[in-house]
């Protein structure tokens, strides 16, 4: 008998900002919708552990999609005439459009890195639309520590350099198979995509001026950051937590910038399940009050 995983992958056709997109979406489970957002330059495979964990999928409908230009979501027609750059507004509209298209009511959104940044924007601008927000490796800003132009030029292999730039941002004793699968995803990123995502991460998505305006009374905010993450360090996330009253912050010892991918069992057991349990309890209390 074929050993299939319980994950179902399909293509969702929709328009975002008037542009036809064909978005690859993976799903597993039933219950509270949980949208998962991958890191810059990677794709939804990072959430393979979450999508396969029955402790989660028995209670949550887990949905992970590849952003346009990432993974199995091809760029839109005419892509060859544009330079890919992820913007805050486009990122928000993509998430909202997909949630609306799927008919999701008050979904929980969990995003990592650029996804961890955009959940802060969702918390600020659209708190009423979401049941809770989980920021993995969240920071209000990212200070450049290398010239991103190296990630996209014809005389340097983009996949190799992107993976090498992030390879150290993982825990010291994580499973080697998960470490190298995480890097493989980076090596497969399309040309210029990591660089285009970092336009949002470093410039357009800078939230330092407004982060304190987030109101967690409207939407709970959970922040989880690994201590091996040097891109969005625990200190960076702590700055957010200090600014946002009511935000819950946990430092994840032994994990780095890709917690859901670099060591899924440890991330889920030690850090994610307690958060999901709390969210579930809150949802239940709200529905009965």
């Amino acid at each position: 008998m074929a050993d299939f995983e319980p994950i179902a992958g399909r293509y969702l056709n929709l328009e975002i900002d008037g542009v036809a997109q064909r978005i690859y979406v993976e799903e597993a489970g039933q219950g509270i919708p949980l949208i998962c957002l991958h890191t810059a330059g990677s794709d939804s495979r990072q959430f393979r552990g979450v999508l396969n964990d029955t402790r989660i999928t028995n209670r949550y409908r887990v949905i992970a999609f590849d952003l346009p230009w990432h993974g199995k979501s091809s760029p839109p027609a005419g892509w060859q005439n544009t330079e890919y750059r992820l913007t805050t507004n486009a990122y928000i509209r993509t998430i909202v459009a997909i949630a609306d298209s799927l008919g999701l009511e008050k979904p929980v959104v969990m995003g990592c890195s650029i996804g961890g940044r955009i959940v802060l924007h969702l918390a600020l601008h659209h708190p009423h639309r979401f049941g809770a927000l989980i920021g993995l490796e969240s920071a209000a800003h990212n200070e450049a520590h290398y010239d991103i132009s190296w990630a996209h030029r014809p005389d340097v292999h983009g996949g190799e350099v992107c993976a090498a730039l992030v390879s150290g941002a993982m825990g010291n004793d994580i499973p080697e198979a998960d470490r190298w699968e995480t890097l493989w995803h980076y090596m497969q990123g399309g040309p210029g995509i990591f660089k285009g995502d970092l336009f949002f991460y470093r410039l357009d998505g800078d939230l330092r001026e407004d982060v304190a305006k987030i109101d967690t009374a409207q939407c709970p905010l959970y922040l989880l950051t690994g201590n091996y993450d040097y891109s969005a360090s625990p200190a960076d996330t702590m700055e957010v937590a200090k600014s946002v009253k009511g935000a819950h912050f946990t430092e994840m010892t032994g994990l780095g910038h890709f917690p859901m991918s670099e060591d899924p069992p440890r991330f889920i057991q030690q850090f994610l399940l307690p958060v999901l349990k709390k969210i579930e309890t809150d949802v239940h209390e709200r529905s009965t009050s």
């Binding site: 340097v156 190799e160 730039l165 150290g168 040097y230």
Partner: protein, 136 residues
Amino acid sequence: MQAASHEGNVTASLVPTMNTKHLTPFFAARSEYVNAVFMFVVGETEFLVSLQKGHVTDVRQGPFVTPSYEFRISASDNTWAELWSQAPTAGRHDVISLLKYKLLRVDGNLHTFMANLFFFKALLTSPRYTTEANRG
């Protein structure tokens, strides 16, 4: 820190142990086209490291007069000592992480360095694995 946590010039003495002999197949496969001379700096001590086809062919200690090289990598003695220790603390364990925390500087013509970043990260970390003290 262990092993590589030495005083002053002792860490510099580990520079000649920087080599590619221990590299796993992944990194070894990325060494064939690496040819360069770069300057490696431990505190105030300068070295010129020569690479041919990914092999360290020469390590010369300065001081130098008008040295010629492609790029220069510098950090303090303590930074290298911790990177080369068996169990560096989080944030001090990786070359790019050291850049983030402004503990390391790379300048010059960086093309060879960036085009072969996996290789250079492995090479620059190699004393963690190649010194007698660390092997023990």
